[in-house]
C-alpha cells in the first residue's frame, strides 16, 4: 500500500468509526439490546474473510443491499445470519421471540427496513464527515450465501476497472454473537475524490 492509500485508509477508518457508531445506535434501538461495534476494517482487496463475521463464507445470510448515489457512488450491504435476522424481525414487529421461523414476506420487508436504517445511518455519517451529498437507494433484500453476496459487490466495483476498498463493520450482541456485518464499498470513480479529501 502506498502513502496515498495509507492516508485514504486512515481517513476512511475515522469516518467509518463514526458511521459504525451511528449504525450501531440504530441497530441497538431496533433490537432493544446493546450492540457492540467492532472498529471497522478498511482494506484493499477481496473481502472473503469478512464473511467469518457472519459464520463463514458459505453460511446463509439475510440482509439488504443499497447503492449510494450523489457526489460519489458505491455499495452498502448489511448481512445477518438468518437466525439473527429472524430474531430482529420478531423484535421489530413486537412479536414473541421465535414467532418468525423463515424469511417470509413480512420478514423480508422488516429486514429491508433494518438495512435502510442502519445503511442510511452509515452513509449519512460519511456524508457529514466528508462534506459530500450522498443518497442511499431503497434497499433490495438479499438472502443467499455470504460469500456470493460479498463477491458480487467486489465484482461490481472491479468491473469499473479500479481497486476495491471495502469497509467492514461487525456488530455483536451482548452475548458476543455476531449480529451483523456491514460492508461499504466506494466505486473506483469515488476514490480520487476520497483521496483528495484524505490528503
Amino acid at each position: 500500500m502506498n502513502g496515498i492509500e495509507e492516508k485514504l485508509v486512515a481517513s476512511l477508518s475515522g469516518v467509518a468509526r463514526e458511521g459504525a457508531l451511528r449504525a450501531g445506535r440504530g441497530l441497538s434501538g431496533l433490537m432493544g439490546e446493546e450492540i457492540t461495534i467492532h472498529v471497522p476494517s478498511v482494506r484493499f482487496g477481496t473481502r472473503a474473510d469478512a464473511c467469518d463475521a457472519v459464520g463463514g463464507a458459505e453460511v446463509i445470510v439475510l440482509g439488504a443491499y443499497l447503492t449510494i448515489t450523489g457526489d460519489i457512488t458505491g455499495h452498502v450491504m448489511l448481512l445477518f445470519p438468518v437466525e439473527k435476522a429472524l430474531q430482529c424481525v420478531d423484535l421489530m414487529c413486537g412479536q414473541a421471540p421465535g414467532t418468525t421461523t423463515e424469511p417470509d414476506e413480512l420478514a423480508e420487508s422488516a429486514v429491508g427496513e433494518l438495512g435502510n436504517i442502519v445503511g442510511s445511518a452509515f452513509v449519512n455519517a460519511l456524508a457529514d464527515h466528508l462534506n459530500l451529498i450522498l443518497h442511499p437507494s431503497p434497499p433490495t433484500v438479499v438472502n443467499d450465501m455470504a460469500i456470493a453476496l460479498v463477491q458480487a459487490v467486489h465484482a461490481e466495483v472491479m468491473a469499473q476497472g479500479g481497486e476495491v476498498v471495502m469497509i467492514d463493520t461487525v456488530f455483536e450482541d451482548k452475548g458476543g454473537h455476531a449480529s451483523g456485518l456491514l460492508v461499504v464499498a466506494p466505486d473506483p470513480m469515488a476514490l480520487p475524490r476520497l483521496r483528495e479529501i484524505a490528503a
Binding site: 443491499y65 447503492t67 443467499d144 450465501m145 456470493a148 459487490v153 467486489h154 461490481e156 469499473q160 476497472g161
Partner: protein
C-alpha cells in the same frame, strides 16, 4: 477406488484461483459463486481434474496477478487449458461444466453491469476459440451456487442456499 467421504480433502478454489488435481482423495470446490462462474474440467482418460473461479469477463490487456490467474474469463480459460494439458490431459477428451453467473444483488441491480451474464458469454466465447464447448451448465438466475468436482469420479455437483447438491 473412491476414498471414504471423511478422508476427502476439500480444496477451496477462491476468487481468481485455479486448481489442478489428479489425487482421488481431493475435491475441488468453488464456494458461493454469485456473479462469478466456476468452470470445472475433467479428462476421463487420465483422471486429471481442474477448476477455475472467474470474477470478470475480460482482462482488456491486463496481465493476471500470479495469485489470481483466473480473475478474468479470457486469461482464466487459457490458464485452465494450459494447466490441464501440462498435467497430462488431452484437450479432445475434456469434459467442461459451468456454474454461476447469477444476479444475487437482485434483478434490478444486475441491470447496471450484467456481470454474471457477461461472464457466461465471455467464457463460452473463449472456449469456442479453443474449439471447445461446455457439456453442462447451470447459469444465471438470482441464487448463489457452490460448485464441487470430485477428482475420484470426475462427477460435478452444484448446490444453492435453497437446494441440496445435485449432479451437473
Amino acid at each position: 477406488m473412491t476414498a471414504p467421504a471423511a478422508d476427502l480433502r476439500r480444496i477451496s478454489v477462491g476468487i481468481g484461483q485455479l486448481a489442478v488435481s489428479k489425487d482421488s482423495r481431493e475435491v475441488l470446490i468453488a464456494y458461493g459463486l454469485g456473479s462469478c462462474i466456476g468452470v470445472s474440467a475433467h479428462d476421463p482418460g487420465t483422471g486429471v481434474c481442474a477448476m477455475v473461479h472467474i470474477l470478470l469477463p475480460a482482462s482488456e490487456g491486463k496481465v493476471p496477478q500470479p495469485n489470481e490467474p483466473a480473475r478474468f474469463a479470457d486469461s482464466g480459460v487459457d490458464a485452465l487449458l494450459k494447466q490441464m494439458i501440462a498435467a497430462g490431459a488431452s484437450r479432445s477428451r475434456l469434459v467442461l461444466k459451468l456454474a454461476g453467473g447469477a444476479a444475487v444483488l437482485g434483478p434490478g441491480n444486475a441491470e447496471k453491469f450484467k456481470i454474471g451474464e457477461r461472464n457466461a458469454d465471455a467464457i463460452k466465447e473463449r472456449l469456442k476459440l479453443h474449439g471447445l464447448r461446455a457439456a453442462r451448465e447451470d447459469l444465471g438466475g438470482t441464487r448463489g451456487r457452490t460448485l464441487e468436482l470430485q477428482v475420484a469420479s470426475g462427477k460435478t455437483f452444484v448446490r444453492t442456499a435453497a437446494s441440496p447438491a445435485i449432479e451437473l
